[in-house]
Symmetry: D3
Subunit: 68 residues, 6 copies
């Protein structure tokens, strides 16, 4: 009965991509630990780029610099 | 000083229902562990059905199948 | 399919008390939101008192002051 | 490679304040534990006041009472 | 810069299995969302079976019943 | 009433360092958002190096390579 929480920045991820994450994470737990998929939860949190920081800077700024 | 995090799918839960969850979780911690309600936090996260997977499928699909 | 995470300090909570928390949280989700208990997860995290702070002080210190 | 998750109520926090939290939390980990800022994550979750409870009441009610 | 948190019961998972989860989750984020592995975190939490409940019962009890 | 969760690897962090993290995180929330320290929680999770992955490798391996 695993619980997988995937946190990513909210940057246009599609429902298909999110479904692929759900499938992939579930298969991973089945393959490696023989877990029952029926009680495997995968929850994806999409976080605004203003709310995610790396190296002391928010991702909004990091993306802007990467483009310029 | 407990911290309770309740994660549910975002499917029209009302403010009254959320208040009932907050009250119920707080009372549970007081009753079972004699915790001080003044420093008991309850945080409810409502998660889009596209972002919650069970058995390798997102809840959007599961709800659609349940209806058909 | 709710997920409930209860975080408390590690201070001698018994298996019976933890079972009471699991039952109570599950019943709460069934009662308030009509959730299916079979896919309701409750996870209890017990945190060392050195690792939990309130008001800028760890709980180890707060307990010591409360006793003296 | 620390991970810091700051959960606050959604009450008009600005992008500048969120950036200050990101910087401050990163500096804290560098100063106290000599962590590498390049792999220090800070994620801020803003939670609706209906979804956050203290002392068995949601913060929406608590704010209303504080004003009256 | 994704963050993946895998929560499982503490039931003799080996370091090799945990490494397989770390690799698999990282590859999943690279494959589906083209994320940079260098800033992809995977954290595994192993939870005592007394502290994990499903269907209102702790996993310690569920395992015992499954055996008998 | 903020909640701050700091997750770090378990590598000999002292109670004094943990207290410094608790104080620093509390002061940060007071300074930036004028939060009440009395209802500011800081919880530190120390994670085994086998259970934390970056770039697809667990931290146990990364530390060994850094030394050699």
């Amino acid at each position: 009965m695993p619980y997988v929480n995937i946190r990513i920045t909210r940057e246009g991820v599609t429902a298909e991509q999110k479904q692929a994450l759900i499938e992939g994470a579930t298969e991973l737990l089945v393959r490696v630990l023989n877990k029952n998929p029926a009680t495997t939860f995968v929850i994806i949190d999409e976080v605004e780029t203003d709310n995610w920081g790396v190296a002391g800077q928010n991702v909004t700024s990091l993306r802007r610099k990467a483009k310029s």
